[in-house]
């Protein structure tokens, strides 16, 4: 499709994308080199803000903590995720189908919600802690230590590794493994000598991804790191305002640039790894019906370990929230049966801002998700079957928002909505949050769309051209109808992602722009535990509905 008639909309889409992606990032960069907020009349260029944060020991502690947590996460999540993928794709582990679905839950539940769940379940006076105290006389854990944060973050990121390694294992032809069996390798040797080396590129990619996610971590350390004062880069940035008492945007921007300086190379590294991962594809064998590996009695041990992991990452935090949402208060010496109540939910629905948060969250997921998918589709189609400059630029443009953590993107969009004429009017509407969400999740959404577009054989479009359809007709009559299911599936996934998102809305939170995610951060800061519990449960419910619909329609929950 290289017709000139079609190039005008393509350039328009590309330009709009460039503006939406670059404006916030450039604003952050510019702000970081000023000595005061950019809207101050008195300000000048310089490295003052960098000098300030580099002299602040808290910054270096936070940086170190981020590195430690990110490394710890990779070390924990990588072997467990790879092992889980092997168990679920290659062996006769019981209940595979159910586990495959449950594994995805931590991916779609907001980290803020999970973190809160661990506090109410396993914090010093959490449900499980007090039950443990009754049993052992003491609480044998401390969820607020740096190690605990790394362990919890690591265990809740096992699904990310699982997704990539199971995809690699599934696309690995069974014949190469069978060939090893035939020449005399036992199942363990097959796994070590053939499956593992051949999925190594995917594992490496997952390791970088998890490290990258660890560096961006916000909700978990915000909630769990607070009591003992453990800061990571994102929470350091978030707390800078408290530190100086005034909005120190220039300092925040400098921290943001430091974070991006680490994450952007990681994004480029991921991209490169993904390309090299395709190296083996050309000689990949043929997938045939596979005999699953019988684990014998070991399967019960493996099953037990998987169950323990599921219990820790799903059952414990979510049951904690569910319980906390229905009690007036909780602490030592309180009997559960005496404090059961629906008051927390009544409280939520009595407050107009929280009702708005629920409604806005629903709107941004459904309507907003649909419009976002339409935008992603426009960007995807602009680059579809194109090899020119536009496609290449788009290709790199979408990587940028991926490197900017949601918290920072939200901050940059706040500035834009505060001071850009034409946008100012939208500041107090949910549209501002929607724009930020859409840009932050651009890379993810686009991957869904291109995934659907790649399913279409080029001949289908080419044959439409040869029978006389102009490119716009091909789009309308062939391409779009063929990716219809892909678009619907993307909508569902984007719905769940938008329900789950919290950090992007934090700085945009104001009257009219409430969403559950940012509301949770704000209520948590104010210590309104009852309402956090109720809203968290509502949030989990919304995600669960999305998940149930997705499963009902057989949507693939990952690429």
């Amino acid at each position: 499709m290289t017709s000139r008639a079609f190039s005008v909309p393509r350039y328009a889409v590309a330009s709009l994308t460039a503006v939406a992606v670059l404006a916030p990032v450039l604003l952050i960069f510019w702000q970081s080199f000023l000595n005061a907020p950019f809207f101050n009349p008195v300000r000048h260029l310089g490295f003052g803000s960098y000098a300030f944060i580099f002299e602040d020991p808290d910054f270096w502690t936070a940086f170190l903590n981020s590195v430690v947590i990110a490394t710890g996460m990779a070390v924990i999540a990588l072997p467990l995720g790879a092992a889980l993928a092997f168990l679920l794709t290659r062996t006769d582990l019981p209940w595979q189908r159910t586990i495959e679905v449950l594994v995805l839950v931590p991916v779609f539940v907001s980290p803020m919600v999970l973190a809160f769940g661990y506090v109410v379940a396993m914090g010093p006076v959490g449900f499980y802690s007090l039950w443990a105290k009754d049993l052992f006389g003491d609480v044998p854990w401390n969820v607020y230590s740096l190690l605990s944060i790394a362990v919890i973050a690591g265990l809740t990121h096992v699904p990310h590794v699982y997704l990539y390694s199971s995809a690699a294992l599934k696309s690995l032809g069974s014949d190469v493994e069978e060939a090893a069996r035939i020449v005399g390798a036992n199942p363990l040797k097959v796994a070590l000598h053939v499956s593992l080396p051949m999925t190594m590129p995917a594992l490496l990619y997952a390791a970088v991804l998890v490290f990258f996610l660890g560096f961006e971590l916000f909700g978990l350390p915000l909630v769990l790191g607070d009591p003992e004062g453990h800061l990571v880069l994102a929470t350091y940035l978030y707390k800078l305002t408290n530190k100086l008492g005034t909005p120190s945007y220039h300092l925040m921007a400098a921290v943001a640039v430091c974070i991006i300086a680490v994450t952007f190379p990681l994004v480029l590294l991921q991209r490169w790894l993904l390309k090299t991962a395709g190296k083996y594809v050309s000689v990949k064998g043929k997938a045939t019906r596979q005999k699953t590996l019988p684990l014998g009695n070991w399967k019960w041990l493996a099953f037990l370990i998987v169950l323990l992991w599921l219990a820790f990452t799903i059952v414990v935090p979510i049951s904690g929230i569910a319980l906390r949402a229905f009690v007036e208060q909780w602490g030592e010496g309180i009997k559960l049966s005496e404090v059961l109540t629906l008051a927390n939910f009544r409280q939520v629905f009595d407050q107009s801002d929280q009702v708005r948060a629920v409604i806005n969250t629903l709107l941004i997921g459904t309507l907003g998700g649909a419009v976002a998918v339409a935008c992603y589709a426009a960007v995807g189609l602009a680059g579809h079957r194109q090899h020119g400059a536009v496609a290449r630029i788009l290709d790199y443009l979408v990587l940028i928002p991926r490197a900017v953590p949601g918290l920072l993107a939200g901050l940059a969009f706040l500035w834009l909505f505060l001071f850009v004429p034409g946008l100012k009017e939208l500041r107090n509407t949910i549209v501002s949050v929607w724009v930020a969400y859409t840009v932050v999740w651009l890379a993810y959404g686009l991957r869904l769309i291109t995934g659907a577009l790649l399913q279409i054989a080029p001949e289908l479009e080419e044959s439409a051209r040869t029978v006389g359809a102009a490119p716009s007709r091909v789009l309308k009559d062939v391409t779009l109808p063929l990716i219809r299911f892909g678009l619907l599936a993307s909508w569902l996934l984007v719905f769940m992602i938008f329900e789950r998102e919290y950090s992007t809305g934090v700085y945009l939170l104001g009257q009219g722009t409430e969403v559950i995610g940012s509301m949770l951060v704000s209520l948590w800061g104010a210590g309104a535990i009852d309402q956090v519990a109720a809203l968290s449960l509502i949030n989990i419910g919304l995600v669960a509905i999305g998940l149930a619909v997705a499963l009902r329609f057989g949507v693939r929950l990952h690429e």
């Binding site: 032809g173 014949d175 190469v176 069978e178 060939a179 090893a180 069996r181 035939i182 020449v183 005399g184 390798a185 036992n186 040797k189 000598h193 053939v194 080396p197 051949m198 190594m200 190296k279 083996y280 050309s282 000689v283 990949k284 064998g285 043929k286 019906r289 005999k291």
Partner: protein, 359 residues
């Protein structure tokens, strides 16, 4: 590879996926130094049978043994895992390990058998030399052509001297032109090294060219087995007749029976043929004759029918003529490119097989 080894014996093998019966009681024998082809259409169970021997499928019933060594026996509860069967298998896709060099691909089986490093080197070099791959030892699989990859896959399966080599459609991944050369080369290799081989193929020409014995499978059962000549010239069923060559079909009714001959009457013809199986006067029947056995004749005569020439197709070494007889279309070979004229076709009674129509 040992000529003194024992026979591979498969007895009454059954296999099913759920309710789907794939193998319905297959028995076969492969003597040392023999090449047996498993022939059949897709879904006939030929690959499943091969994979069952290899230990990659789990039959529900039956027995597989090589000499005294029982590989599988449902009654005795024996199912030796694939890696302990010591067989060689050449995969249809070759299944070379992309992260190992050619040398390491071939050496892997020896290393698993704890062969000392110096001997591994010598044996791999010899195996690669046998297959004309000496210079490619340090290449990675994706740097090889399809034909070279196939040879590496064969070297990998032979290097530890398995008693039987299993080959799953060994030629199907090669280009048509290359396939004919590879067929001759593979047959030469098998003869030169005295291999016992079980070869799966869907191509009857390939099966006839490469093997000493053919097993024709049809929906999980053996339709017929025998030497290539037997299978081609003396099919016991219409299925075998159809599968083994290119045929003309003449549907009709039996008008007369005399010993092993039957008179087949159809739309515009009455021809004597050789009855295969039981036929009786009045039965619906199908006459089948190989394309190359039908002759173009100049005038009327015994077992000749008049036919109108529709077109002739030049094939290089011969011409193929298409004739019309009522609604029937008959194909025959001639040497003269376009010279076929309306005339007569002779269908010798010995070559026209008459099968009772299966109802």
């Amino acid at each position: 590879m040992s000529k003194t080894g024992n026979s591979l014996v498969v007895t009454d093998l059954h296999l099913q996926y759920g309710d789907n019966q794939i193998l319905k009681g297959v028995s076969m024998t492969l003597a040392p130094g023999e090449v047996v082809a498993l022939l059949g259409a897709s879904g006939s169970g030929k690959t499943t049978l091969l994979r069952s021997v290899a230990g990659l499928e789990e039959p529900s019933r039956g027995r597989i043994a090589i000499g005294d060594a029982v590989l599988f026996d449902s009654a005795a509860g024996i199912d030796i895992p694939a890696e302990k069967r010591n067989l060689g298998l050449v995969f249809q896709s070759y299944a070379l390990w992309p992260h190992k060099t050619v040398f390491d691909n071939v050496a892997y089986g020896l290393r698993l058998r704890n062969v000392p490093a110096s001997e591994v080197g010598a044996r791999v070099t010899q195996a690669l030399g046998n297959l004309g791959l000496g210079a490619l030892a340090q290449r990675l699989p994706h740097q090889l052509s399809g034909g070279q990859q196939q040879r590496v896959a064969i070297a990998r399966a032979l290097v530890y001297n398995p008693p039987v080599v299993l080959m799953d459609e060994p030629l199907s991944n090669l280009d048509a032109k290359l396939r004919e050369e590879a067929r001759a080369w593979l047959r030469e290799l098998i003869v030169r090294l005295g291999l016992s081989a079980l070869v799966v193929t869907h191509d009857q020409t390939e099966a006839m060219a490469m093997s000493d014995k053919i097993l024709l499978l049809n929906y999980g059962q053996i339709e017929q087995q025998g030497t290539p000549e037997d299978m081609y010239n003396r099919p016991q069923s219409q299925f075998t007749a159809e599968f083994m060559g290119s045929n003309n079909h003449l549907p009709g009714t039996i008008a007369e029976v005399a010993q092993d001959r039957a008179l087949l009457a159809g739309d515009g013809f009455r021809l004597w043929g050789t009855s295969r199986g039981k036929v009786a006067v009045g039965d619906k029947a199908m006459g089948i004759i190989r394309l190359e056995r039908m002759r173009i004749a100049q005038g009327p005569g015994e077992n000749r029918i008049p036919a109108e020439l529709i077109t002739a197709m030049f094939m290089g070494d011969r011409s193929e003529h298409l004739f019309k007889l009522g609604a029937l279309r008959l194909r025959g070979y001639g040497t003269d490119a376009r010279a076929g004229v309306d005339g007569y076709l002779e269908l010798p009674a010995n070559d026209l097989w008459v099968f009772a129509a299966s109802s």
